[in-house]
């Protein structure tokens, strides 16, 4: 069994979001970078659990990013995994990124690919599906539970107000969200061993960039809260009904 987990670098969840260069670039000064929480907490940890259950499992991590991504991929290796591959490219276009990962996936002979459900910066939720299409594998998105019995995967995925239990053989691409696993904190042994785990750097293949970000925009600031006395909740309801007209 060979598993590939896609890892992305994102700003910390508490990072202040602002833009520079006439709102065309994310202001990264002073921003702390983390492993995208969906990749770390769910995709990576579930893959580690599968390896713990079957120690013959080979677990690789892959990321598309420049050298400044390495602390993130080392941190991921400290949580678990045998080796990491960094594709030396910087892009915000999902097709370009997916084409790079698809190439690694095809060469590596993997059985299972995990991604997080989306990155918390681009919110695309599209890499898993694109990779699956490019290598012609089935794809189950937004999983809340993943089990493997031999080569048959049982996956529970979220649907509108409900859940669906699916079965699929391998190979398979799955995007993971809350429920699939529980967050783990890297321990000292993991951090030490991560220093010596292989981190391969490969150059990107030629792939087209289909989209580009023209500019960013912050949402308009709120005008300010209108407080109603705690003695008069019916007044709040009246305002919501007559002034805000929301129900």
């Amino acid at each position: 069994m060979k598993i590939l987990v896609c890892i992305s670098k994102t700003p910390d969840t508490t990072a202040k979001i602002s833009f520079t260069q006439n709102n065309t670039k994310f202001a990264s000064d002073g921003v702390q970078w983390i492993i995208n929480p969906y990749d770390e907490w769910y995709a990576l940890v579930r893959a580690i659990e599968l390896k713990e259950k079957d120690p013959s499992t080979i677990l690789h991590l892959v990321t598309v990013g420049l050298a400044d991504t390495e602390p993130i991929i080392r941190k991921a290796l400290a949580i678990g995994g045998d080796e990491a591959i960094r594709i030396n490219a910087d892009s915000a276009d999902p097709y370009y990124i997916a084409a790079q990962i698809a190439n690694i996936a095809q060469q590596g002979g993997y059985d299972l690919i995990f991604t997080g459900k989306e990155t918390i910066d681009y919110n695309g939720s599209s890499i898993g599906g694109m990779v699956a299409e490019l290598i012609d594998w089935p794809y189950i998105s937004l999983a809340v539970k993943f089990d493997l019995n031999g080569t048959i995967a049982t996956v529970v995925r979220e649907t509108e107000g409900g859940e669906e239990t699916d079965e699929a053989g391998l190979p398979l691409v799955v995007s993971c969200q809350k429920g699939v696993a529980e967050q783990r904190i890297p321990n000292m042994k993991g951090i030490m061993s991560a220093r010596t785990k292989p981190l391969k750097v490969v150059e990107p293949i030629a792939a087209e960039t289909l989209t580009s970000i023209v500019s960013f925009e912050l949402p308009p600031a709120k005008a300010g809260v209108r407080l109603v006395s705690a003695d008069n909740p019916p007044e709040l309801i009246r305002l919501l009904h007559e002034e805000a007209k929301v129900f």
């Binding site: 919110n123 695309g124 699956a132 079965e167 500019s215 019916p234 309801i237």
Partner: protein, 321 residues
């Protein structure tokens, strides 16, 4: 030349997110001066022709029961083949659970630029630029699609359903669907509840409620309003509420007309999931709770006293209870 809209359905129903996508696609078709057409995979209890009132002239239906359950690989092939055969230039998906599974596959298959999580109609004055949600609701990006064929998936509750007159011509799509590699074993649907992502009104509770046994006041308020219920991350993590109710940066992001936050302090990660709500109401006993800065209306007070009075006032207004 046409705008193609994927009409998602489940449990014999065309979902609200699909009606929004139809309305959006029809408006975009008007903007581009081309017809709007729908694609429907599977069967449904209602007459598809009636979807014409949302602005779509023609609906291609592959009426096979085997297609009633999603297999993203099968769906993507059929949609891509149909898009190619009809010469559509834009494909619109609802950015809901099924849309997120299929849109990226269709985009990759057809090498079309994709913008997922669109919140407004494209700006076509100079190129083709779509506004989308980024940084988990903390900002927007304007994304240019630089390919002849474009794929857009529209965030739920971002574009209003526009209902007019008209009937759609339903044409049968004869496809040989490849055998699905994903088998649906079972499906559960929360009955009688409004799905959170589609809800226009949401009542949400946080740690300030002190324990799951106190959720009655949240549920009563939600019931009186006809609202969905939600919660903050600590509440879901503690197991007080099911995780699918968790809204925030690492839960789900919602954009209802009204979001009532009760006993939630308003951490930045929580705000990221709800700050696209049109009206935010905060009830918190701490006047310094950061949520008040993001709110439109608020009451500084004890939820256990204030919330039941809100529920009573709604019932009185609606003449119920």
């Amino acid at each position: 030349m046409s705008v193609f809209i994927f009409i998602d359905h489940s449990e014999e129903q065309v979902k609200k997110a699909s009606l929004e996508a139809l309305s959006y696609g029809a408006a975009l078709a008007g903007q581009l001066g081309v017809p709007a057409e729908g694609i429907f995979l599977g069967t449904v209890g209602t007459d598809l022709a009636t979807l014409g009132k949302f602005g779509v002239k023609k609906i291609h239906q592959a009426a096979q029961e085997g297609l009633n359950h999603l297999d993203a690989q099968v769906y993507a092939k059929i949609i891509a083949d149909t898009v190619t055969a009809t010469g559509a230039t834009v494909v619109v998906f609802p950015n809901n659970f099924n849309g997120k599974a299929v849109a990226p596959r269709v985009a990759a298959r057809l090498k079309a630029g994709l913008v997922s999580g669109a919140v407004a109609l494209p700006d076509t004055a100079n190129g083709f630029v779509v506004k989308k949600n980024v940084f988990s609701g903390k900002a927007f990006a304007h994304v240019a699609l630089n390919t002849p064929l474009k794929v857009i998936s529209l965030n739920p509750n971002s574009y209003p359903v526009k209902e007019g007159q008209g009937s759609a011509e339903v044409v049968s799509l004869s496809v040989t669907a490849p055998a699905p590699k994903v088998r649906v074993v079972s499906a559960t649907q929360a009955t009688g509840e409004v799905p959170l992502t589609e809800a226009e009104l949401v009542v949400s509770g946080g740690r300030g409620l002190k324990g799951p046994e106190n959720w009655g006041i949240i549920e009563d308020l939600a019931k009186a309003l006809g609202a969905a219920t939600a919660c903050s991350r600590p509440v879901a993590d503690a197991g007080w509420r099911p995780h699918h109710e968790h809204v925030g940066q690492t839960g789900i992001a919602i954009a209802p007309n009204l979001y009532i936050a009760i006993g939630i302090s308003g951490a930045i990660q929580h705000l990221a999931g709800v700050n696209r709500s049109k009206v935010i109401v905060v009830v918190n006993k701490d006047p310094e709770a950061p949520f008040f800065k993001a709110a439109d209306y608020g009451i500084v007070g004890d939820a256990f006293e204030v919330v039941p009075k809100m529920t009573e006032a709604i019932k009185k207004l609606k003449g119920i209870g």
